[in-house]
Subunit: 328 residues, 2 copies
């Protein structure tokens, strides 16, 4: 029997899917539930779905929602953790200044915390994953975009405007491709999954042979997902391999820049590609980074590793951060 | 009459000149002494010169060295502040693993502190200069190279190996010119005084008209110093202006990267060029940076300003850091 009021639910609210974990006081996962995000719903509707999902996953371990200590959500976009407000979520239509914490709290009648989705992922890898035991850590999550988080002196570093750790918008090639942010040559515009897909499609248009589009068709995907990338790499697709190699080079240079600036103990590479490809993805990034650190004689004191928690990093980190807030 | 045991001496030990300040408990400057660095001397000889200089500047305010609270030195290169050791100073021949603190302390019989020269400059601007009152600050010093310092939560941030804040080795153009560190496209290789001189000489070799070499000859300089840059800009030299504009653009992009990563309250641009040209130097850097922040709606909450202490930033910062160490 799980002691009541020790159990928390961590949620990752993504543009593609919702993921909820029930976690005990030792941060062990008791249950996992996952469902596609119904993006057609307005915020109120999606929040009702979230409430039902939380009740459901809690019931699956034999508890009632009233026995929950708290719910903590990693939400995309600009988030105000102090007030539980999602200011703007680019992947969720209509999510502008939504008081997610208050609204979900009213439905569930438990404390609800809201944090940025990348920050919770980094906090998870720091507390329970590949970055355990470090005081200074940088997390880099490569997906549709490239997000990041900084742990300094053991705590999330948010910056003076709460705008820190935008690793994806480090500029590594001032005359490089246009980024979604309006600048040129941000690492996100060179090495995100979106950038890789652009480069693959360009190579195919230029007449290079690749199985990527066929794989996407077979799997019914209109985007080059991490699983498509993994399959294409396994098949030895030359275009995919070349594009991946280039992205890894740019990521290695970005990691070198970050390390020259912050000198962390550990850089955790997270996100779908890192999760699926692991060391195959990270090894070339590490090599390029080590070769371009200013201080090379003890380069290997800076660990560069894939995340170890996969999709659970976010919900687990959300729980860890909520626990810290409750202890304050 | 100055109360004894409250007075400290701050020293900037540069490859070109030594600068010593006598400072009272309110961090007011009571006396300044400056002398060229005799680079022909071995470490022992230079440390003896430092000792004489300290005695001299203290005597000039009517005190004896025994009445000093401490001496604090900003030294170039890799420094271990805990043990007062200069590990390696690229601009000073023979300075490898020199126990500067212990050696000078033995001669003067007062506590001697040793810090990195860029860190003391940033600490000075933070405590007493353009960055006063901020908790999160980045200092960028443009000179022969480009150095930097990070203040986080009000304190110098040193990183896990003591190798943090190497702003000069942020990579902003992966296929850019070779840097002294062996990488390509570091901001130091694009916008330091050395990089600007390289670009000016290249333009002149390519047949462009410029007065820079003539100015250097007239003033007996074999390097393009900050004063030469200032004169050439004032004369409207087209090559100098074009090279400066390009350097400012790259610096603006580097500042954007730093701010996207660290979101400080303030970026202080220091060093000889910033000191001489002030707002003329910083305004275009600020403009480019603001245009390339990820978060632009409140870009101007991040102040980007020239340093206000000039050559005194280092010695004053050295004193401020020594005071913190004495209080511990």
């Amino acid at each position: 029997m799980v002691p009541a009021k020790e159990v928390m639910v961590g949620v990752d609210m993504g543009g593609t899917s919702l993921r909820a974990l029930v976690v005990n006081a030792q941060n062990e996962i008791l249950a996992i539930e996952k469902t596609p995000t119904n993006v057609a719903l307005k915020p109120e509707g999606l929040i009702r779905e979230l409430a039902l999902m939380v009740e459901d996953v809690v019931r699956s371990v034999g508890l009632r929602k009233s026995q929950l200590r708290a719910v903590s959500i990693g939400a995309p976009g600009a988030v105000d953790p102090e007030h539980g407000v999602v200011y703007h979520a680019p992947n969720l239509a209509g999510w502008d200044e939504v008081p997610l914490g208050a609204m979900l709290g009213k439905l569930l009648r438990v404390p609800v915390f809201v944090e940025n989705d990348v920050n919770v992922g980094v906090a998870g890898e720091h507390a329970l994953g590949a970055g355990q035991g470090t005081q200074e850590l940088v997390g880099i999550f490569v997906g549709t975009g490239i997000g990041g988080g900084i742990i300094s002196r053991g705590q999330l570093y948010l910056g003076s405007r709460g705008a820190a750790a935008e690793v994806g918008h480090m500029i590594v090639q001032v005359d490089g491709p246009l980024c979604g942010c309006g600048s040129h040559g941000c690492i996100e515009a060179l090495a995100s999954r979106t950038a890789m897909e652009r480069d693959v499609r360009e190579a195919i248009r230029a007449g290079q042979k690749s199985c990527v589009l066929k794989l996407m068709e077979e799997r019914g995907k209109d985007r080059m997902t991490s699983s498509i990338i993994q399959r294409a790499i396994r098949k030895g697709d030359p275009v995919m391999r070349k594009v991946m190699k280039r992205a890894q080079y740019f990521l290695g240079m970005a990691v070198a820049s970050v390390v020259n600036l912050l000198d962390p103990e550990c850089v955790v590479m997270g996100g779908g590609i890192a999760e699926r490809l692991g060391e195959y993805f990270v090894a070339p990034i590490r090599k390029t980074a080590y070769e371009n650190f200013l201080r090379r004689h003890d380069a290997d004191r800076v660990k560069i590793v894939p995340g170890s928690l996969g999709d659970n990093a976010g919900p687990l980190g959300a729980v860890v951060l909520a626990r810290k807030r409750l202890e304050k």
